[in-house]
């Protein structure tokens, strides 16, 4: 109705009514531009309403990106998006690294492995080459040479280190620690797999908790007695290999590879695992492959029999060599032991150098030549080099030997050494004796000299008259200090003997001391007996001096009944105890006392 009215209006009111005119104009304008205006308002609304705008853009955004990429190549778009994508990734990792890591795991593993294996390949190749050579005839020649020259047989050790055996492989559900699959090499005794798996994951967990809770990295191997357990963890599964011997480090790559394969192949089964291991039956296959990866025998594949024969020969040679070198080592240790026990040689260090034993230390000039000791031990002196600096040994036997060399003791004299004191025993000329007394203290290792058992050989001629005097016993009556009658002759002989001895000794440069000892029998009072015995000795001395004996050389003492010559069981014994006896000693004047 309103529409009709508006449309009719211009016909009547155009001229006379300006306001009516105006109205008509509005109506006209409206008629012309209203639809556009409405459209504009709609567009305006579209632009203002965020939700609508978003909806509109969302319907074309994928096409737009794709179109943009087709038009200008990837670069512009990639450049525009890169900061945002980077920021997004960073934020995602910061928030929780696991989703991204888990998503990337199947991709990242092979990528990392590839770059590592590139680096390793060179090394492995040269390693394999070395191994092949070592099994060839040339290799053996090298080896024998290495053995002969005594070089460290690093190659053998290297080869030895390649021998290993994987005895068991466990596939463990990471979250629960339950065993998913378990394979065992033949003839290996095993324990309950579920217990081992559980305990392994407990230990893993413990290590993770105890050492670095933030870092998801954890224990990747552990030693159990002779065995090593290598552990490889993925997001949902854990591989554990029980290894005897030393596996090469690239075995870890093999494990990683197997784990990635399993992670990928069983990803949903791993995620939904509720304790039923049935879906993992087929996972045994990659585990068995891990088990089979024992020692590599690259050469054996090509020429098994030749390589085997070579190995056998090598084995025999090795055993022979080891046997021989063990024997030599044993002989050498015996030799070293002997050298160490040898007075006058001190071993400071020894070792093997260029196939020869090198022995360093000190040697006394008088000690035996070590090469002689070598020959005695049945060892080749060619194999040894001695580097022994001279020194003076203070070992008793070495000092005695040195003294012997310097003093030239005559026959009948023995030298011995005891902690710095040189004992000289026997009979020698007075010249030699004085030389000993003069020189011995200057010998290295000699602190003092004991010549008390050394006798002047010239005094031997005085032995007969000396013992003649010393065998005499002059006897006295009871309680008296005068000689019993009837001993005048005996006394005269003594007088003559002493005079002669003193005279002849002085001509040999010796001083004579005559000691007279007075005795009494045990009857009477002790004090009186002492006095009586002293008086008896003094009387005899007086008589001798009066008869011409030099007073200075005669000494007396009375011992009473304390040193009876006989046990007093008879009257005759008692009589002999009332006596005076003689003792004669010689002393060289130089030695003073």
């Amino acid at each position: 109705m309103a529409d009709q009215a508006h449309r009719r209006a211009p016909d009547n009111q155009t001229e006379e009514n300006p306001s009516a005119n105006n109205h008509a104009y509005e109506e006209l304008r409206h008629l012309i531009i209203a639809p556009e205006q409405e459209e504009l308002a709609d567009i305006q609304e579209r632009l203002d309403d965020r939700a609508r705008r978003t909806r509109d853009v969302s319907s074309v955004v994928a096409e737009a990106i794709s179109m943009r990429r087709d038009q200008h190549g990837e670069r512009a778009l990639a450049q525009a998006l890169a900061p945002t994508v980077q920021e997004t990734l960073r934020e995602s990792v910061r928030h929780d690294p696991h989703p991204l890591a888990d998503a990337l795991f199947p991709v990242m593993g092979p990528a990392i492995r590839k770059s590592i294996s590139e680096a390793l390949r060179g090394m492995l190749e040269s390693f394999n080459e070395a191994l092949e050579h070592s099994l060839s005839a040339r290799g053996i020649k090298w080896r024998i040479e290495a053995l002969r020259t005594g070089k460290p047989f690093a190659e053998i050790v290297l080869m030895h280190s390649l021998l290993f055996r994987v005895e068991q492989v466990f596939l463990i559900h990471r979250h629960t620690g339950l065993v998913l699959s378990h394979v065992v090499a033949r003839q290996v005794a095993t324990q309950d797999a579920s217990l081992v798996a559980g305990m392994l994951s407990a230990i893993q967990q413990f290590v993770r908790d105890s050492f670095d809770s933030k870092n998801e990295e954890s224990l990747d191997s552990l030693n159990v007695g002779e065995l090593e357990v290598w552990i490889e963890e993925g997001p949902d599964a854990v591989l554990a290999a029980v290894i005897r011997g030393h596996a090469p480090s690239d075995y870890r790559l093999t494990m990683k590879e197997a784990l990635e394969e399993i992670q990928q192949r069983y990803s949903s089964a791993l995620e939904n695992f509720k304790g039923d291991a049935a879906p993992f039956l087929s996972a045994e296959e990659p585990l068995i492959r891990l088990l089979a990866a024992r020692h590599r025998e690259p050469a054996a594949k090509k020429r098994p029999s030749a390589a085997l024969a070579t190995l056998a020969i090598l084995g025999v040679l090795l055993v022979a060599y080891f046997g021989y070198s063990m024997y030599l080592r044993y002989e050498w240790s015996r030799f070293l032991h002997a050298v160490r026990g040898q007075p006058g040689i001190v071993v400071i260090s020894y070792g093997r150098e260029g196939g020869r034993y090198h022995i360093q230390g000190f040697k006394d000039p008088l000690a035996p030549d070590p090469n002689t000791l070598l020959k005695q031990a049945g060892l080749d002196p060619q194999n040894a080099q001695f580097d022994l600096a001279p020194y003076y040994s203070l070992d008793d036997s070495m000092v005695a030997q040195r003294a012997r060399q310097l003093l030239h003791p005559p026959e009948g004299v023995t030298l011995s050494e005891n902690h710095g004191e040189l004992h000289v025993e026997g009979t020698a000329s007075p010249q030699w004796i004085s030389r000993v007394q003069e020189r011995a203290p200057y010998i290295a290792g000699v602190a003092s000299v004991d010549t008390s058992h050394l006798q002047n050989s010239h005094l031997l001629q005085l032995n007969a008259p000396k013992s003649a005097v010393e065998s005499v016993i002059l006897v006295f009556p009871i309680g008296r200090a005068e000689l019993e009658a009837g001993q005048e002759n005996t006394f005269a002989q003594i007088q003559k003997g002493i005079r002669e001895i003193v005279y002849r000794a002085s001509r040999l440069g010796e001083q004579t001391t005559v000691e007279l000892t007075g005795h009494s029998d045990s009857t009477g009072i002790e004090g009186t007996n002492m006095l009586l015995s002293q008086e008896r000795a003094d009387n005899i001395r007086g008589a001798l001096v009066r008869g011409g004996a030099p007073a200075a050389n005669l000494h007396t003492r009375g011992v009473g009944a304390t040193q009876p010559l006989r046990p007093e069981d008879t009257e005759e014994s008692r009589r002999l105890n009332r006596s005076v006896t003689f003792r004669i000693t010689f002393t060289p004047p130089s030695s003073g006392n």
């Binding site: 309950d192 217990l195 559980g198």
Partner: protein, 165 residues
């Protein structure tokens, strides 16, 4: 065969190890428990015509000196919350521990084990408290690791509960 990881939880000296020791196959020495705080044992039970291997994580009892490694609970299908019936405090401690366990792993089947049932004259848990706990939804079993009473049943019952989950 089905396997289930089960944890033994409770205060120090309530009898967790004794319960396990009575009915399980052991491989590892108990020294592990003091060194890493857990020992893994195994028990096979037969429920619902099926053999179920319970892999039992006997976790060292919590005390003032030693806190439980909560991460040991990861992936468990159920647990036994063991208390010593002659020490009321072990019940309160166990319930507090249970709160933390629920926070860590959510709700999984559990049995409240009142152990040392042979020591009746020293019993400290009154029947009011017990019915209060059953009302709160606890499955409660009185056991004795010493006499063996209800121990087999304990493990079978928990195994059955984990199967219906």
């Amino acid at each position: 065969m089905l396997q289930k990881k089960i944890c033994m939880l409770g205060s120090f000296s309530v009898g967790k190890t004794s319960l396990v020791r009575r009915f399980v196959e052991s491989l590892f020495s108990e020294a592990y428990q003091t060194s890493i705080g857990v020992k893994v044992d195994k028990k096979v039970v037969h429920v619902n015509n099926e053999d179920v291997t319970l892999v039992l994580w006997d976790i060292h009892g919590e005390d003032v000196y030693q806190k439980i490694h909560m991460s040991y609970l990861r992936g468990m299908s159920g647990y036994l919350l063991v208390i010593d019936g002659t020490r009321r405090q072990t019940l309160e401690d166990a319930l507090a521990l249970n709160q933390r366990v629920m926070q860590e792993v959510g709700k999984v089947p559990a049995i409240l084990v009142l152990n040392k049932s042979d020591l009746v004259d020293r019993w400290e848990i009154d029947s009011d408290r017990e019915s209060e706990l059953s009302a709160a939804g606890w499955i409660i079993l009185r056991t004795s690791a010493k006499t063996g009473a209800s121990v087999e049943q304990l493990f079978s019952q928990l195994a059955a509960a984990t199967l219906t989950e």
